[in-house]
Symmetry: C3
Subunit: 262 residues, 3 copies
């Protein structure tokens, strides 16, 4: 059987809210090292990879590997019924066709059990190669969310360019153009506002803003987002779930038109 209890159930709620608009349905894979999910978005352009470590749960037991297919919209409906302070326990029998979510209010007076029917979902697990990146930028998650939202009101794509002092986000569209620059700032006073740049060589890549906006729905998970960029590699947009795991999004850069003609 599989059983896992998370005292801070709101984390699970946030994870599902972060990915439910991008992914229609997916397999949650459980083994004794943890709980993970990997799926392409419904337009097969970007990739989502979630992993929550066994030791990030208050209690975790997984007798044998299971893969549980769920429709994210239904999972979200159920998790919305958990209070923000509730502990959440997930339970599933081996070969069962449901997963049970148990919500306990802090004072134990309210106890809810929701059974969600599992689905069979075809999926292939893509290997994501470990890579050395040309540039890694860590910036406040809310700042990143705001930038991609702001630029979306002007254009459809963003060029992200990084040098050792700053990261720049640029776009243009019918009404004009926009450039937003965030300077490196290893602020000690307010670590949650720091912007840190780690660079091997300068890089400038272009991405569809629509997907970055979807990724930014993970903002409530973490104070910071990490962007990992390399020429010819998908960008990684990564949110660390403190003490529990990570949620990563992968998106291939747009090829410039001149290159395509070449």
């Amino acid at each position: 059987m599989f059983e896992a209890r998370m005292a801070q159930g709101s984390l699970l709620k946030k994870v599902v809210e972060a990915i439910k608009d991008l992914i229609e349905d997916a397999n949650f894979d459980c083994n004794n090292s943890g709980f993970s999910l990997q799926a392409m978005d419904s337009s097969h352009v970007s990739l989502v990879a979630l992993s929550l470590r066994a030791d990030g749960f208050e209690h975790y037991r997984c007798d044998r590997n299971v893969s549980m297919g769920m429709k994210l919209a239904n999972l979200s409906k159920i998790l919305k019924c958990a209070g923000n302070d509730d502990a959440i326990t997930m339970k599933s029998e081996d070969n069962g066709d449901t997963i049970t979510f148990m919500f306990e209010s802090p004072n134990q007076e309210r106890l809810s059990e929701f059974d969600l029917k599992l689905m069979d979902i075809d999926s292939e697990h893509l290997g994501i190669p470990e890579a050395e990146y040309d540039a890694t930028v860590k910036l406040p998650a809310s700042e990143f969310q705001r930038i991609v939202k702001d630029l979306s009101s002007i254009g459809d794509t963003v060029e992200i360019s990084v040098n050792k002092d700053a990261v720049k986000f640029g776009t243009s569209g019918d009404i004009g153009s926009a450039n937003i620059m965030c300077r490196q700032n290893k602020s000690v006073d307010k670590p949650e506002e720091s912007t840190e740049i780690d660079i091997n060589e300068p890089v400038a890549l272009t991405f569809a803003l629509r997907y970055l906006n979807s990724f930014a729905k993970a903002t409530p998970l973490s104070t910071h987002v990490v962007l990992k960029l390399s020429k010819d590699l998908p960008v990684v947009v990564e949110y660390h779930v403190p003490d529990v795991g990570r949620l990563g999004f992968y998106l291939a850069p747009k090829v410039e038109e001149e290159e395509m003609e070449a």
Copy 2:
């Protein structure tokens, strides 16, 4: 003539907000003991009964019995123009065809008068027999509101079952099933969070969630809601308006299909 003044006008606003989506138009009946309304919802399934006692008003005068027909949507439009701290005075001449609402701001600097045209509405007054109930459950109104809302995302009906220790709300639907249990808790520290169960015999009845959701719009009126349940009787969902009166909703239980076939 009829004239009644309520210093805490927001109570009237909340009462009308609580019933305006359920009832299209209704007669407000005034006599010298108070102000009341009884009406079926527009689909003729549930019944609403409101009574506000004369002594709950700061000033109350009713020379002879009057029945004033109003469209709830219009009454709501007008009461929305009252500030939350305004005193509200209602006035109507005998045989007049309007009712006047006077709103006074606390510092008396702003004085508003709204005249609403009265309507002729056919209505029959149903006698609601006093009954002894198998089970009476008093629980925080916001908790009840949340439970019926949460369950509505899973199914269409709820089975409410009460035993001496707890009340259970269960539903099921296409995506799975849900059960929420609230334990008895005569909390002395925080009386507003108490759940109290008074039971003659265990009872389990099924209701349409849609109506319970409508009833729960009365939540702002009161810290607690009282559910009164008996086999074969409509449930009473009751909100007490402190020092003024009560708003009660009545809904017949669903007959189980197996019983119907028997």
Copy 3:
């Protein structure tokens, strides 16, 4: 070239939000005394006049008179990307076809530049004659906003009548009628709640509520709104932007039907 810097950039945001639903596109006229705009609303019924004085800016330079045509919806999109605490600098080369907006966050870590394409817009500058008004009413801007919103739920037009003690707003419609009276109150304790009336002779004029509701979108600009009324003259609805300038709206009164038939 034209260059102007406003430390409190939120003022510019509020100005544009106040007029963007009323005016589709307009010329912003800059000369060395300041920055102004005058335009009819898109239905050619009301007039908007904005003026921001050069000395209201932290830095202001305008080498020669320029008139910059912008679509307000696009300008609004761009200004929404400025943080509420950002300083905003506007820049435009002589004969340039764009205006640049530069947003600086308080700590200088975030620097954004937005270029907006300018448009050619035909416009005629109407002379607004200075007039002596029969009555001038200064009341809290939020109070005025609420009154015109409340009355809009009852009727389409409002009669504003002023005597030396009070200003009255009246309307009527299908469901009934309404009258709201605000008494003069030169409150010293809370100057932001004061209502001041300055009157030569009593006046009563009728206006379309729809436009007053649009004007009231300027409420965030100022604690008070000033209404200037004279028989046969357009009402002036005026918001002072502290230390910077003013935004005025002009609307002709409705002619009563009986007068029209006479």
